[in-house]
Point group: C2
């Protein structure tokens, strides 16, 4: 049997430097756990635009469709702010999500004990926090047509379309209910059904799937604005949150920031099973490309390393190995090692991006 294949797309900003640390981890699993991967690497985002005039070439897209999992760093940067919309770095990432049909974006918002003090929220509000946001990732206002900036009389008009089909809602709802069953069995669905018809359909379909297939899971509904409030007030009331692409973008970033551990948070974007039974999958850290600190050794590689742990769990059915890697990360934190984003406490030891990667490999 051939090795499972990984496509690595480091992207822009701190992407390449955090991904270099993930490579060390991948190599370790190949050498020590007999889990070799066939790894290839390619460009996405601004660097792809610089090289090819497009943020994602057709060749790279085709490779992404063939591999068992994609690992992505981050895309974007001020250098590309003035690019035409159609070739912005983000279009590369969005094309991957759309063409691989990665409809379920899993974003755990976890507060690491060693880091609870980093949150802007009070310690009792966030300590031990562990929620999972499932964001729909292939539809909604990110992709709906018509879209664009048009001329109407003397004026420009900007248009985007929020559009959800019943089956798009149903499949991501199922992902949420399945995950809830492995956790605390609670799902809260968020939309604006009080002002948007697409939200009415969202609420109805989530309820229908619940009643027909997951009556054992506790389901509640909340307006997204109230959701933002409740996440801020008492986030531990939630277990799994399921929401659409745009609300999910804001709410998952908010939830990530609550934990104080932004540089620590991974994500998985999953689609339908491929012929080999593995889901189409892309793994990436929640943080962005942080161009301001790129190349300074200040970036925290943990979010990207934990994204690889999610790959072990969700793509390769190696939950034990994922836990091994997560434990190594926790052990290094417990030893007091901190990258620049997590300095401030007494008695910790500042380390560079590479030193953090090395320390995690050493713990493995």
């Amino acid at each position: 049997m051939s090795n499972p294949s990984l496509l690595i797309l480091p992207g822009d900003g701190i992407g390449p430097e955090v991904m270099a640390e993930v490579r060390k981890v991948i190599d370790w699993f190949g050498a020590k756990r007999d889990m070799a991967f066939d790894v290839s690497e390619d460009l996405v985002g601004g660097c792809a635009y610089d090289a090819h005039g497009t943020p994602l070439t057709d060749e790279t897209m085709a490779k992404a469709q063939e591999v068992d999992a994609v690992l992505l760093g981050a895309v974007g940067g001020p250098k590309y702010d003035t690019l035409d919309f159609s070739v912005k770095p983000e279009r590369g990432l969005l094309r991957l999500r759309k063409e691989m049909d990665l409809y379920a974006n899993l974003r755990p918002a976890q507060c690491f004990d060693a880091l609870a003090d980093f949150s802007s929220l009070k310690k009792d509000v966030v300590a031990g926090l562990d929620i999972m946001i499932i964001r729909e990732l292939t539809s909604g206002v990110y992709f709906g047509e018509p879209r664009g900036v048009f001329k109407e009389g003397n004026e420009r008009v900007g248009i985007n379309t929020q559009r959800y089909t019943e089956s798009e809602i149903a499949r991501v709802a199922r992902s949420a209910f399945e995950l809830a069953r492995k956790r605390d069995n609670k799902v809260c669905s968020m939309e604006k059904a009080n002002v948007m018809e697409s939200g009415v359909l969202w609420r109805d379909v989530v309820q229908e799937i619940h009643d027909a297939e997951y009556p054992d899971v506790e389901l509640s509904h909340m307006y997204a604005d109230a959701g933002a409030m409740q996440l801020t007030r008492w986030p531990k009331q939630f277990d799994v949150i399921v929401t659409d692409n745009l609300f999910g973008d804001l709410l998952s970033d908010l939830a990530a920031m609550l934990t104080g551990s932004l540089g620590m948070l991974p994500s998985a974007s999953l689609g339908a099973p491929m012929a080999n039974g593995r889901p189409k999958a892309l793994y990436e850290p929640v943080h962005g490309s942080a161009p301001d600190i790129a190349g300074t050794g200040k970036a925290n590689p943990i979010a990207c390393i934990l994204s690889f742990a999610m790959a072990l769990r969700y793509s390769f059915d190696k939950g034990d190995e994922a836990t091994r890697l997560e434990d190594a990360v926790n052990a290094v934190l417990a030893d007091g090692l901190r990258t620049a984003d997590l300095l401030g406490e007494d008695g910790v030891q500042p380390v560079s991006t590479a030193e953090m990667g090395d320390a995690i490999v050493a713990k493995l």
Copy 2:
């Protein structure tokens, strides 16, 4: 000269009980400061639906167009959750906003010194916080066409349209720049220009209005997801935030919750000047109808009372009287009086909705 006119729409849930306290304040200004108002009262929301089968009758709508200012309590409640979308309580409020063309929704997020401990955020993060969110209120995905739930083949499809014209963006941008000049002269505009063309137009128009008319104001742009993060991380970095209807809905609720003073926060929704020079205006608390505590004397009337203070300032050019009222509120808080939403500290005195209203009038 006739008295300025006020239309009072208490609405649902705790709306009527908090509005009863505002009436006391209005009466005080009539009796003691020679500022009598012609006050009329009418129905909006679920109670209007119960009485007339519509959340806002044409007669009430016509009255709202004629008065100098509208004061609204809150709308909605679980009793109305199963109503058809077109007659939901919220449609009454949205019709008022749209037909009065109240495009600039001013939502101050202020942390009251006496209440800083109520925030789920650390005290140093929120103490002294004073930001102003300007939310576009008459367009965007709340009102864009096409919209609805349609049948496509075997499936239902939910559609809403995000649509902004250049002039809609320009006028609310001007409101934000004007307000910033009276504050710390800083505006941050939020959108998702990296994924939505309507966000690209938003960003461009805000920048153009800035460069042409308000070059003295400091302007920055932020993606709305990063905005949600930054509001959570360090909200004091902001002065005025301007954003669209939907992002404004989430971000202003988030900002309100940061302060820990949700039951304290007013809002003003302003349109173009009428023949008498006053802007079309509607004032309402940021909090909702809280049906769970309606009728228990637990509601905090301060947000609604401070909404009347905003009316004094923005509709009636009585900034001094507005400050007098705001000072009275602060004095009552300094005395330790607290409604049920603000209990928990030692040494405070629990009061009912009505006692709080009386105490504020006594301080005046």
